[in-house]
Amino acid sequence: MKQRFLILLLLLPILSFAQTNGSIKGLVSDSVHDYGLQAATVTVYKKADSVLVNYQVTNNQGEFNIGELPFRTPLLLSITYSGYNDFSKEIYLDSLKKDFDLKKILLSRDTSRQMEEVIVKSVVPVRMNGDTLEINPDAFKLDSSAVVEDMLLRVPGVTMWSDGTITVNGKKISNVFVDGKPFFGGNPEIATQNLPKTAIEKIQVYQEKDYSKEEITNTEMDSTFTMNIKMKPEKRKGYFGKIGAGLGTDHRYEGDLTMQAYNKKTKVAIAGNINNTNKSIQNVKEAIENNTFRSYNRRNFGAPNANANGLNTVHYFGAYFHHNFDESTNSRFDNSINGEYNLRDSRNNQTTNSTSVQNLTDYSLTNISNRLNTSSSLNQSVDAGYQNRKRATSFALNTSYNWANGNSTAEGNTTAFRNDTLLASRRSNVTAASSHSDNFNFNGYFNNNDYDEGINKKSFSTNYAVSYRNSESNSDQVSRFESLLDSIYTENTDRKYHNENSNFTTNIGLNYNGLRSLLFGNYNFWNINIGLRNNFRYNKSDLNANVLELDTLTSTYKINEALTNINSVINVENRPGISLFKTITKVLSDRYYKSISIRTNLQNQFLYQRNTSTLSYRNLERSFHFFTPSSSVYYNYNRYNKYNFNIGLSHNSSATAPTIDQLYPIVDNINRYNIVVGNPDLKSPLSNNFSFNTSFNSQRFNEKNTYTASLNLGYSTFKNGISDSSIYGNNGARTSYLINIDNRRSFTGGINTSASFRMNNRNMLQVRYSASINGSRSPQYIKTPQDAAAVLIASKNRNQNHSLSLFYSLTEVFNVSLGETISSSGSEQIGTSKTPLKAKTYGTRVNFNLMVPKNFQLSSNINYLNNVSANNASIKATIWNAYATWRFMKMKQAEIKLSIFDILRENQNIDNFANNNTTGTTITNGIQQFYMVSLSYFPRRFGGRSGRSGRSGSRRSEAGEQRQQRPQQQFRQQNNTQRRSGRN
């Protein structure tokens, strides 16, 4: 009932309208029994071309009053009602006769036809069918090439947010399905930006349980809103894709090929991409997201990634396969297999300049470094999975294998200054590395939900995962360290590393939810659910490291005994626990719904660790055990027809054993600026994490505006946190000893607010503000040569990010968005005399899209960045891009696009960072100015070959479009004689 009520709320806004021009009113009545016919559909068309002007459903008394009708246009009014002959009348309105009253219209029963009623009914744009809101595509007159998203933009109550989120009257749509199933990986855009409006029978919006959750507790938080796109039966088979190529200045190129085919049970996709324009394609899903039919997309898929570091060349090929064993269109059930293959060959050239400042007790140390990096890699992966979800059980198996080869070379120079001026040391290094790895993963789960009568005796879930990784790497590293303050040394190191590594992990989880009925029988123990949990994890990691070092005397490579070793480590973890869960709900029908859920997990953590090594000091065997409880409280208040409010508070704790490389590391001195020395006395750090979140969203019907706000706070403390005791040399070299220090803590906070205002059917304004702040306090010891003893300092770091954006759209004409972001990071060392360090980035972004004239689109975006780094240097960059596209051919299947990227040639990537006592800025080269012309063709066909033309996809679709647009007209012609009898 509640569900129905909620859905009903979704429908209400469309029932309100404002009367602007002319109007027609009347009363629709049964001709025999003379009573008002409720919910009869009254539609007004333009007589000339049958374009829908406005429609209405009659009220409880059978009355209608349709406004917003144009003057001096011949109109056709049509009334249809299930089981009755329809009625139509020509009407002409002007300023003298602007309101037309048809008075009582008597409809007569139609006894001859049953089947065609379906067509008649389907012209209502939005209606309720039980608990489901149904959107009818035929009611929206759009261009024949329009896709689902073009239509959704016009549906009252549906808001397409600028970040891709879809809400229906304030309620966020979590899943977009096609015929009850995720469509090519589940991203909404793949369905909404590819499927033509004409292939759709209807779109349904309904509330359902979140079946992906392990435990369904019947509270509001388990519910999600789903949008299901129901295809017309004859369109449940088809293909679509894109073939495109572009050439640009500066030797830029790109090529795309995506092809997706589907039928009732099977979906197949292939995707290929080659580019040197910093488009990152990792998998099939990403490739097809980047190449949807709709030329404008809000998330700007397919554009070069301006934030990618360096210059990248990617050659990608992938294939995807999904097969359902049954044709069920119910999203609750699933019995399917899927597979994917990916091949990715990539090259990266990167230049990085970074400046970092470390605050020490009495001076600061500035490191300026530059680095040139080239790398190439070939990655391949094969994935396969099987899912079976039934009403009470769900079962899944997934397996993946991937193998990768990589080569890289890097050259870097670092110079360290004391207090920005005094040259302390220099380091240069050259690295050449190659690696090969094989990974195998397998995981699965089985859940049994014994929901019959709420007894839960047989409710349990299990999950299993195993992964194996085998890798081999070679790297040659040459490093020269010159100390300029110490009188003594300059150090040259030339080493060849050869590592062979294998890693095996397995994880088994068991949950049993029926303990209460097992213990207490019929007694429900104050409605507290009791479950048993156990998670077991085993990990074995083997390393065989061979390190050769150049002996300068003999100019030969000799084995470095200190670094060469064979090591094997085993970690075993077991977490048994008991969980208690209770929900209290209070409902007052039509007024409010309140619920509070309390959950606590009382669990223990057992850790066992064994290390065996050829280096005798690294042989050890240890075990630990901790009490690591976790709890949460969640409160939900839903005021019907007003708002929904949630608050949650949770706590969890966990411990990690210090690793062997923290206890007894193999000290490698190749990088003098960071030498880590372990500490065999390290204890296990125990973290306690608290989080708080609250959210509010308006749920008022009859309102065209929606508001949402959410706040998240997190706080973590560490007992025995592992931190540094760093000893700095005069030359800036650093050796850090790991120690346990209490009082390490961190917090995060975030606010998100958004509001959407729909002025009328076409004008929409969205405002969003989001802010995040996070900070940490990390105590550590620092000792410089000037200090007599190590000094305890605490580094306080803060990062803040604020962003405000405005988005205005006039459907089909243009949209514009404006954004302003400010982010800052700062670091302060308490216990030193140094002033806090701060870095800030200001960003201003403008994005403009013009969609007229028809088939043309012009868009441009400008992103202005001003970065002020920790040492007060200001770097400014304006990244300005512009695109022009033209769609042609009958179904707009061809596209020419001109892109100008980085018109001002200023693109680079700037990042600020702060950790412990270090603050810095990194600047990496990015792709810069180029012009490109690209040509694309979108092969498409929806529906089988058995149709009338059966030749080209475009003609089929068009024929379909014509059929859909004029069901009324055809219907009228067929039944001309009968209609007359229904006229009053």
Partner: protein, 412 residues
């Protein structure tokens, strides 16, 4: 012998049954004034103590309205003008059913202990004649005497096993009860869908079924017979799950009074009974896939020539009004409000009836919404409604709608 007796009665009865052809797409509607002689809205007083959610059950006596609210698990007593008199809850118990016991001038209340979840398999065990378990702490039957509501005088019927099944008072000191449950592992095969019992023993049995093999009755949520009171204590109306007959039960016999014939798309086919459901999931799946099949007829109320009834589908329900005289079937949802109801809605579930009226309820929010959408008609409200709209809020208690059906309906 009992089986034979019951069967014979059925066969005998079917000869006189009236057959109704109910096609949901062929029903008619009417304005409210054509169906009802008189429409009254009775707001139920809202005080801090009397605030409740929605009316789950309503009992109407000569002087009282008694409301069972599922949201607050309590009974609310109002006088006939809607003035609040008394609130009553049974501590630790959830009230499941209330009915009027005229012989005792009491309200008979069936409730279950909130601290226990008794699965239907257990209930079935407790109902076995040889069962020794004292069920008093699980289920309760309580008489609340109505002579002085404020006094809240009650009496418990101890260890009444059928209290689990919400039996209906019948023929002075008997009950009519239905508990249908089949189990694959059941030892016996024969059981009855409808039983006439006294406080401890089964007196009569009707409608045999196989409690080992009939898979449609395996799972909880399996439908029971609907047993509906009439104005006469010795006459009850009975319907069965997945069957479309309406029976009249009297102390001496059960007779088939009406037989509904539904279109193919709404009638459960014979194959449903032979499907052999092996799990509740399978059964639920079937119901989801055949949402339009009718599960049962419910809420049958007869007034001379008129009969109100609900047709429950696997998903959703339809409500009808049958006029015996004209043989017309009205879709209750097509009865539209008009000036006789001040353009306020008269649709919804029939919550109760007395000799002359049926009673529906409407939330205060819907009242205000309806007022708003009919404002342009400028309806002239009576004194009660005028005061209601002036002084009450959207969050107040629901309003009762008292409707007096006409003796003879005119069709136009």
């Amino acid at each position: 012998m009992f089986v034979c007796g019951a069967l014979w009665l059925c066969l005998n009865a079917s000869a006189q049954a009236k057959t109704l052809y109910v096609d949901p797409s062929k029903t008619v509607g009417a304005p409210a004034s054509r169906i009802f002689d008189e429409i009254r809205f009775i707001p139920l007083e809202t005080t801090k103590k009397s605030l409740f959610g929605a009316i789950r059950q309503l009992v109407v006596t000569d002087s009282l309205f008694i409301v069972l609210d599922g949201d607050t698990d309590a009974l609310y007593f109002f006088n006939k003008r809607g003035k609040f008199l008394q609130k009553y809850r049974i501590k630790r118990y959830r009230i499941r059913d209330i009915q009027l016991d005229r012989t005792k001038n009491a309200l008979l209340i069936f409730s279950l202990n909130k601290n226990y979840n008794i699965p239907s398999v257990k209930v079935q065990e407790y109902l076995e004649p040889e069962s020794q378990t004292d069920i008093s702490k699980y289920a309760k039957a309580t008489w609340f005497y109505l002579d002085n509501v404020k006094a809240a005088r009650t009496e418990d019927l101890k260890n009444f096993r059928y209290a689990f099944t919400n039996p209906v008072r019948f023929d002075k000191n008997k009950f009519a009860a239905s508990f249908i449950k089949a189990k694959r592992t059941s030892r016996d095969t024969l059981d009855y869908q409808l039983k006439i019992i006294d406080n401890a023993n089964v007196l009569q049995n009707y409608f045999p079924y196989n409690k080992k093999t009939e898979s449609v009755y395996y799972f909880s949520g399996a439908s029971q017979c609907s047993i509906m009171p009439t104005q006469n204590d010795s006459v009850l109306l009975v319907t069965r799950p997945f069957q479309y007959e309406i029976y009249t039960l009297t102390p001496s016999a059960i007779t088939e009074s009406y037989k509904l014939i539904l279109p193919m798309e709404n009638a459960v086919p014979a194959s449903f009974f032979n499907t052999g459901f092996s799990s509740r999931g399978e059964m639920d799946m079937y119901k989801m896939e055949h949402a339009k099949y009718a599960e049962k007829i419910q809420n049958v109320i007869r007034f001379k020539n008129l009969m109100f009834f609900d047709l429950n589908l696997f998903r959703g329900y339809n409500r009808y009004l049958f006029d015996n005289k004209t043989n017309l079937i009205y879709d209750y949802n097509k009865i539209s409000s008009d000036s006789s109801s001040y353009f306020l809605p008269v649709s919804g579930v029939i919550k109760s009836f007395d000799e002359e009226h049926i009673y529906l309820s409407i939330s205060a929010k819907s009242m205000f919404n309806a007022k708003k959408s009919s404002e342009y008609r400028d309806p002239q409200y009576d004194e009660v409604l005028t005061r209601f709209f002036e002084t009450r809020k959207e969050t107040d208690n629901p309003v009762l709608i008292q409707l007096k059906p006409k003796e003879d309906l005119v069709t136009k």
